[in-house]
């Protein structure tokens, strides 16, 4: 199902793209100077961010939620899971590239095996066979690579459609898009299946976490503040930043 270009260009293309991408990284990762305050937040573009957050919620209510609910109701769960697995599998080569860029050799091998097993026994990635074999998902992305290389987090950003991010993570997303090897290995129409599966995966997630979104975002008195807090805390956790020294001891405070 994959139309390979000549082996030479297929293997070299991501590398050459990375070289093209590097100056871009330097450009985009030239973050707004400043550091998070005591609340862990650096949000100099809050006004613009808040307005994008508000329009995202309007789009969600008008389009995304109804479509995702239809998708979630009409398409049975095992099929949705298959589509989601298929989309995740296509991300694996890009994840391996980032594992290598961060010298995470064990993860690179782990994810290469995942890709090999799921692409073959897992029927082009429809089934996460590797996960059931004890090789669970180990995510990675270029935002983390930038962190590993010492780039600062930068300002908090709300991206249109994509939602919460930071300057560093936005730069990472751009680079991940450019260097993703699957984009160069697949030709149309196969590459469109990948994009379509990714959109469906997002819709499936939206449906699955509908209750959570309702309580965390739609019931919140300040959904912007909650989304920002959740994103930054979770992202720093993914980056392996130890925050245990920042734990509040309520027994100390109240005495």
């Amino acid at each position: 199902m994959q139309h390979f270009h000549s082996r030479f260009s297929a293997t070299l293309r991501p590398v050459s793209r990375l070289l093209i991408a590097l100056p871009l990284v330097a450009l985009v990762a030239a973050c707004t100077p400043g550091t998070p305050g005591p609340d862990g937040v650096f949000d100099p573009y809050e006004q613009a961010n808040r307005s994008r957050h508000a329009s995202s919620l309007r789009v969600d209510q008008a389009v995304v939620k109804p479509v995702s609910d239809t998708y979630g109701t009409v398409v049975p769960r095992p099929v949705r899971r298959g589509v989601s697995n298929f989309a995740s599998n296509l991300d694996l080569p890009g994840i391996v590239v980032n594992d290598v860029l961060q010298f995470k050799v064990e993860n690179a091998v782990h994810n290469t095996w995942r890709f090999a097993i799921n692409s073959t026994i897992g029927v082009a990635g429809l089934f996460d066979v590797a996960g059931s074999m004890g090789l669970p998902e180990r995510d990675n992305d270029f935002g983390r690579t930038l962190h590993a290389w010492g780039a600062p987090e930068g300002a908090y950003l709300v991206l249109p459609v994509l939602g919460p991010s930071t300057e560093r993570d936005f730069a990472g997303k751009v680079v991940d898009f450019i260097i993703n090897p699957t984009r160069y290995l697949l030709e149309s129409p196969e590459s469109y299946y990948g994009t379509g599966a990714k959109v469906l995966k997002k819709l499936g997630d939206r449906h699955q976490y509908s209750d959570v979104l309702d309580s965390v975002i739609y019931q919140s008195a300040d959904s912007y503040g909650q989304a920002r807090m959740l994103y930054l805390q979770n992202r720093r956790f993914e980056l392996g930043i130890d925050v245990s020294d920042q734990y509040i001891d309520p027994y100390e405070v109240s005495r």
Partner: protein
């Protein structure tokens, strides 16, 4: 409890509480060990899964979670902490009402996700001392999802070991709820009673 307390009642109560303190309670200085903290979280996890797998209705399950939260968490200290500086101007009656409403709100908000846990498991992995309390690490293995980390912060400063904070993949429950409760109170122009009414229907 409306009956006036006689001197004899008081003496009996003092004696029994003294007895209870020597037999069960430890003085505040003798802190619990990491394995005590881990044991508490293990008992909590066992109870959570007993409730989830009971196959009862959602409302019955949420009610059970409310009970588990009251049993295993130091809800008083969490409620005081999330209310922040405003807890100092709250009357004792408001504080009690807020604590009750907050407990129900958290039990509903987090308990509603119980379906994701059906057929899954939580492995309690390790405990370590941090500051004056213990951090207990667990891994949640849910169906169709990559395993993720949930941490519980456990202290016995209330008199017995209970958890006072939880971090789900790095998301700190106490910090998140402090921000949320603060925003809600601002929206209500600092009216604590209005905040309590809101919490009773939320989650």
């Amino acid at each position: 409890m409306t009956r006036k307390m006689t001197r004899r009642d008081f003496a009996a109560m003092a004696a029994s509480s003294l007895l209870a303190m020597t037999m069960l309670g430890r003085p505040a200085a003798a802190a619990i060990s990491p394995s005590d903290a881990q044991g508490l979280v293990q008992a909590l996890v066992d109870d959570i899964f007993r409730v989830i797998e009971s196959g009862r209705s959602e409302s019955a399950i949420l009610k059970d979670f409310d009970g588990l939260f009251a049993k295993y968490a130091d809800v008083e200290i969490i409620a005081r902490q999330v209310l922040g500086a405003d807890s100092r101007r709250a009357t004792p009656a408001q504080m009690r009402a807020f604590t009750d409403a907050f407990r129900g709100y958290i039990a509903r908000k987090y308990g509603k996700r119980f379906r994701e846990f059906i057929g899954g498991r939580i492995d309690v992995q390790s405990a370590a001392k941090v500051k004056s309390f213990h951090e207990v690490r667990t891994m949640a293995h849910l169906k169709g999802e990559a395993p993720f980390e949930v941490k519980f912060l456990v202290s016995d400063k209330s008199g017995r070991p209970r958890f006072f904070n939880m971090l789900i993949e790095g998301v700190n429950l106490m910090l998140t709820e402090t921000a949320e409760i603060g925003a809600r109170l601002d929206q209500r122009r600092g009216d604590i009673d209005a905040l309590i009414r809101d919490l009773r229907t939320m989650g």
